[in-house]
C-alpha cells in the first residue's frame, strides 16, 4: 500500500506519460478537465493505467466523480486500504 504522496507521484507520472504535462503541474487541487485540459479519452487511459499501477479497480461509473487530482488520490488510497 502506498501513502497518498506516493500515489500522487505515481499518478503524476501516468498523466505525464499520457499528456506530456510536467509532473509538478499535477497537484491535488487541480481539476482534470478544467486545469489540466484532459479529455474523456485520455482520462480513461489514465484510469486504466492507474488500476494497473496501484492494483485497484476503478469502476467506469466512478470515473465521472474523479473531478480533481485529490479525488483520484483519495479513491485509490481508499481502494487500497
Amino acid at each position: 500500500m502506498a501513502d497518498k504522496e506516493a500515489i500522487l507521484a505515481g499518478l503524476a507520472e501516468i498523466v505525464n506519460e499520457e499528456t506530456g504535462l510536467e509532473t509538478e503541474e499535477v497537484q491535488l487541487e487541480k481539476s482534470f478537465t478544467d486545469d489540466l485540459d484532459i479529455d474523456s479519452i485520455s482520462m480513461m487511459t489514465i484510469v486504466v493505467n492507474a488500476e494497473e499501477k496501484f492494483d485497484v479497480k476503478i469502476p467506469d461509473e466512478e470515473v465521472k466523480n474523479l473531478k480533481t487530482v485529490n479525488d483520484a488520490v483519495e479513491f485509490i488510497a481508499a481502494a487500497q486500504a
Binding site: 499520457e18 499528456t19 506530456g20 479519452i41 480513461m44 487511459t45 486504466v48
Partner: protein
C-alpha cells in the same frame, strides 16, 4: 469558375530521405531504400519476405512523445510530411491562410493497420479494459487527413481518397477539383502508408506480389528488368501544398509548378490484375492530358507507376505507347520505386513530389537495378545519371494504379 492550381510547398518522409531535400538528392544519385528487416517477428512468423523499404529517419525525431502515442504510424508520417510542406510553402505561423478556404485531401491505401492489430492482440491477451480508448481514431483511414486539418487549421473539409496504390494520386485529383471549382484556395494533399507489419507482408506474399530477393534487398526493386519478381513494400508519406495561382501570387509565394491536370478511371476488369492492354490506364492518361490542355507531344517526362511486378509493368507501357505513339521514344521515364520501394497509398504523393521537382529543376531522377531491360518494354528509361530535361516549358506526368482497377494520372507543368 476554372482557376489555375499551383504547387507551393513540398514535404516527404521516405525510405531514401526524411525530408524533401534529402529525398531529391538521393533520388538523383540512385539510392536503394530496401534493407533487411531486423524485427523479431520476421523469424517468429517465418515470413517468406525478410526485407522492406523502411523510413530512413525515424519520425520520433520530429514528433513529441504524446503525438507518437496518440497517432498511428500512418498519421505520424502524414503529419510530418504535411508540416514540412506547410513550412516549405512559407505558411507556418498564425493567420496566414483563411481556415474556411483551406482543405485537406490526404489518402492512404490501408490505414491504421498497426493500431488495429495491436488492439486485437491486447484484447486477446489482456481483455477489453486494456484496449486503448484511442484505438478507433487511430485506426480510421481518415485519421491522417483529420490530424492534418487539426494541426494546420483546415476547415474547408478533410477528405480521404482511398484507392489502394492510386490513393495519393487521387488526392491530387481531389485537390485540383477543390481549387478549380473555387471550394478552396489552399489544399494540403498527399498520401501516407505504414504497412510494414507481418500481416500485410504475409498477405502480399501470399498473392505473389512481393519480391523474394531476400539475399539482395537493395537489388530487389527492379522495374522493367527481365528478372523483376515483385514489388518491395515501402512506407512513408508525401505532401504537397496546392493553391490557386491567384492566392499564391497575392502572397508572393514561390511556385514550383502548375498542377495542370488529372484523370481518374477504373478498369472494371479484375480486382487485382491490370487490364492486359492498359486500356483503363490509357484512358486516365488521355483524360489527364485533356484536363491539362496538353497534347501528348508536350510531355517531357514520365514518373511511371512501375512497381517491378512481372504483370504490372507492361500494361503501363502499352498504355503510354497508345497515347504517346512515336513521341514515347523521346520521353525519359523514371521508375523511382526502384529506389523508394512501393509506398502503396503514399506512392502517388512521393512520385508527385519527385515529378514537381523534375519540372522545377529540369532533371529526371534515376531508375536503379535496370540491368537487362525487358525487350517487351522498350522505354527510354533514365538510368545511371539524372537526365537533363529540355529548356522551356516542361510537362511531367505521374501515373498511379491500384488494386481494384483504379487508374489515376496527374500532370505537372513548369511555370
Amino acid at each position: 469558375m476554372n482557376r489555375t492550381a499551383v504547387i507551393t510547398g513540398l514535404g516527404a518522409t521516405t525510405p531514401i530521405g526524411g525530408d524533401v531535400p534529402t529525398l531529391w538528392r538521393n533520388a538523383l544519385a540512385g539510392t536503394p531504400g530496401a534493407r533487411p528487416l531486423e524485427q523479431d517477428w520476421v523469424a517468429e512468423y517465418e515470413l517468406p519476405v525478410t526485407f522492406a523499404a523502411q523510413l530512413s529517419s525515424p519520425v520520433a525525431d520530429s514528433l513529441t512523445k504524446v503525438e507518437m502515442k496518440r497517432m498511428d504510424p500512418t498519421t505520424q508520417f502524414g503529419v510530418v510530411a504535411a508540416r514540412e510542406a506547410w513550412a516549405d510553402a512559407g505558411l507556418a505561423g498564425e493567420g496566414t491562410v483563411d481556415p474556411d478556404r483551406f482543405a485537406v485531401a490526404f489518402g492512404t491505401g490501408i490505414g491504421g493497420v498497426w493500431t488495429l492489430l495491436d488492439g486485437w492482440d491486447t484484447l486477446r491477451t489482456k481483455g477489453p479494459r486494456r484496449v486503448l480508448p484511442m484505438t478507433v481514431p487511430m485506426l480510421m483511414p481518415n485519421g491522417p487527413a483529420a490530424a492534418i486539418s487539426l494541426d494546420l487549421g483546415a476547415r474547408a473539409g478533410a477528405r480521404t481518397p482511398v484507392s489502394a496504390c492510386a490513393s495519393g494520386t487521387e488526392a491530387m485529383d481531389l485537390a485540383l477539383q477543390l481549387i478549380r471549382s473555387g471550394q478552396a484556395d489552399v489544399v494540403v494533399c498527399g498520401g501516407t502508408e505504414a504497412a510494414i507489419h507481418p500481416l500485410p507482408i504475409a498477405a502480399f506474399a501470399a498473392m505473389q506480389a512481393l519480391s523474394r530477393r531476400n539475399d539482395e534487398p537493395e537489388r530487389a526493386s527492379r522495374p522493367y528488368d527481365s528478372d523483376r519478381d515483385g514489388f518491395v513494400l515501402g512506407e512513408g508519406a508525401g505532401a504537397l501544398v496546392i493553391e490557386s495561382e491567384e492566392h499564391a501570387r497575392a502572397r508572393g509565394a514561390r511556385i514550383y509548378a502548375e498542377l495542370a491536370g488529372s484523370g481518374v478511371t477504373s478498369d472494371s476488369y479484375h480486382i487485382t490484375a491490370p487490364e492486359a492492354e492498359g486500356l483503363g490506364a490509357a484512358r486516365a492518361l488521355r483524360a489527364a492530358l485533356e484536363s491539362a490542355g496538353a497534347s501528348p507531344e508536350d510531355v517531357s517526362h514520365v514518373n511511371a507507376h512501375a512497381t517491378s511486378t512481372p504483370v504490372g509493368d507492361r500494361p503501363e507501357y502499352l498504355a503510354m505507347k497508345s497515347v504517346f505513339a512515336g513521341h514515347l521514344d523521346s520521353v525519359p521515364v523514371s521508375a523511382t520505386k526502384s529506389q523508394t520501394g512501393h509506398l502503396l497509398g503514399a506512392s502517388g504523393a512521393i512520385e508527385s513530389v519527385l515529378s514537381v521537382l523534375a519540372v522545377y529543376h529540369g532533371q529526371a531522377p534515376v531508375t536503379i537495378n535496370l540491368e537487362n531491360q525487358d525487350p517487351e518494354i522498350p522505354l527510354d528509361v533514365v538510368t545511371g545519371t539524372p537526365r537533363q530535361l529540355p529548356e522551356g516549358q516542361r510537362v511531367a506526368v505521374n501515373n498511379s494504379f491500384g488494386f481494384g482497377g483504379h487508374n489515376a494520372v496527374s500532370v505537372f507543368r513548369s511555370i
